[in-house]
Amino acid sequence: MNVPVTPQVERTSHVLRLQEGGNMAEETKNKNPEIVGFACSFCTFKASEMAGSLRMKYPEGVKLIQVPCSSRVDPAFVIKAIFEGADGAFVAGCHPGDCHFIKGNYFTRRKIAALKEMFDAFSMKEKLKLFWVSAAEARRFVEKVTDMYNEIKERKNEREKA
């Protein structure tokens, strides 16, 4: 069977390390939110690569996941990301009408709009966003992502203070 074997020693040391530096590590982790982004490989992911090559900076808490099309994103992925620790999630794809697969992002729009409505019913609307970013819009990508990051960070710090 393919069971990953982790030596006992390493586990303990890992736990110890966490306890030693726990305070500092936790503080930075609390202040900096993590955002999971599902990016269409033909548009938004290309835009993020372009942002990289243009030396534009976007927050490092934003973790991008490349998907073949934004409609590949089952809302289950978004729900899983949020309930397993992410502070927010976004789904990003090509502008409506520009889909590489002709009509994929129209389905995305319906699915994510419905998911947003559901998040609204659970009073956590701010955790999910839907962006349209084409491959040429590196600046727009950085702006959108940074805005979302700052918004979530602000809300998180406020909650922490209260």
């Binding site: 289950a76 976004f90 009073s123 962006f131």
Partner: protein, 336 residues
């Protein structure tokens, strides 16, 4: 609209004539010693009952993967069961050709979990008993579609308590011809009218956590849901709900976890997956051993999400399920 007034014994005679053919079946209710239950009749009808005062399960569950070859099945069921059948047809789980669906006006039902001795089994007493919304289970008391106006034919109750059989499609006509009597004009007003819509569902995660505190993740709600039909559910395997080694590895990675873990994951993902097809029958709550108010969440969410696309689950065969279709110019407010 033309229909026939049903006198006692008429419907039984008609169904018996229908069952004379070898390949014909009827799915309906039977009166037994310990109450009324679902029954598939073959050959002849005995102890037939039009209405069933206890909910039990949604009978559309038994129809999944029904591709009857040459046989004819007549469904004599509640509106919520016929609506689930319509949704399952749209999800290509049932072939419609060999099914005659007859929806029967439903005065309401009680939960099979509560042992209520005062519930009558006679059809005419039932409408009287369920006049009070508190006497039925919660899902039925908020049900907005108790009228038998779906499927190929309907059985309606008029204000005087008479039963009427009304065909809606060509497939319903033969059933009408089996019933004795001459077609008459049907009264315009029936006992069950249209009911008002409930207000928008709104909760927060704290309430959710409180309500689902008792959940033991037995997944009976998924198994008894008539429209939760995937053979290979996403919760099989270790991706969403890890077990054994996968679970321990995850805990080494992320830290202490309360067990059973993944309640929000399971219920929210399921809530989303059935959002457009949920008929609000309350079979999940009926199946829950812990008495969690599941209908409140599932019905509330599905009403909100169906409202976005002006869709109603099970209303018609011609409306496609919103997630598999689109309009080019819509939902501008959804993008950020």
């Amino acid at each position: 609209m033309k229909g026939k007034k049903l006198k006692p014994g008429h419907i039984e005679n008609a169904l018996n004539q229908f069952l004379k053919e070898e390949q014909h079946l009827v799915l309906g209710f039977q009166k037994g010693e310990n109450g009324v239950s679902h029954q598939i009749f073959k050959g002849s009808i005995d102890h037939y009952s039009l209405l069933n005062p206890t909910f039990g399960a949604n009978a559309a569950l038994y129809l999944r993967r029904l591709f009857s070859k040459g046989s004819q099945v007549m469904l004599m069921l509640r509106p919520c069961e016929i609506r689930a059948y319509v949704e399952l047809h749209k999800l290509t789980q049932i072939e419609r050709e060999d099914i005659i669906a007859v929806s029967i006006d439903c005065p309401g039902t009680v939960s099979s979990k509560e042992k209520k001795d005062d519930v009558p089994t006679e059809v005419d007493q039932l409408t009287e008993y369920f006049k009070n919304p508190d006497s039925m289970r919660w899902a039925c008391s908020v049900c907005s579609e108790k009228r038998g106006v779906l499927g190929d034919a309907g059985i309606r109750i008029d204000k005087a308590g008479n039963f009427w059989i009304i065909p809606y499609t060509e497939k319903g006509e033969p059933l009408l011809s089996l019933v004795e009597g001459e077609p008459e004009e049907v009264p315009a007003e029936m006992l069950m009218g249209e009911t008002k819509k409930a207000e928008k569902f709104q909760v927060d995660m704290a309430t959710f956590d409180k309500d689902f505190e008792k959940c033991i993740m037995c997944m009976n709600c998924r198994d008894m849901c008539p429209v939760c039909y995937c053979i290979d559910c996403v919760f099989h395997g270790d991706e969403y709900l890890p077990k054994g080694d996968a679970l321990l590895n995850k805990i080494f990675r992320t830290g202490s976890t309360k067990m059973p873990q993944g309640k929000e994951l399971f219920h929210l993902i399921r809530m989303y997956h059935v959002s457009q097809t949920c008929v609000g029958c309350g079979a999940c709550e009926e199946a829950c051993p812990q008495g969690i108010p599941l209908t409140k969440y599932f019905k509330g969410i599905s009403e909100r999400l169906q409202g976005m696309f002006a869709y109603m689950s099970g209303r018609s065969f011609d409306e496609p399920i919103p997630y598999i279709t689109f309009l080019e110019d819509e939902l501008k407010e959804a993008e950020d």
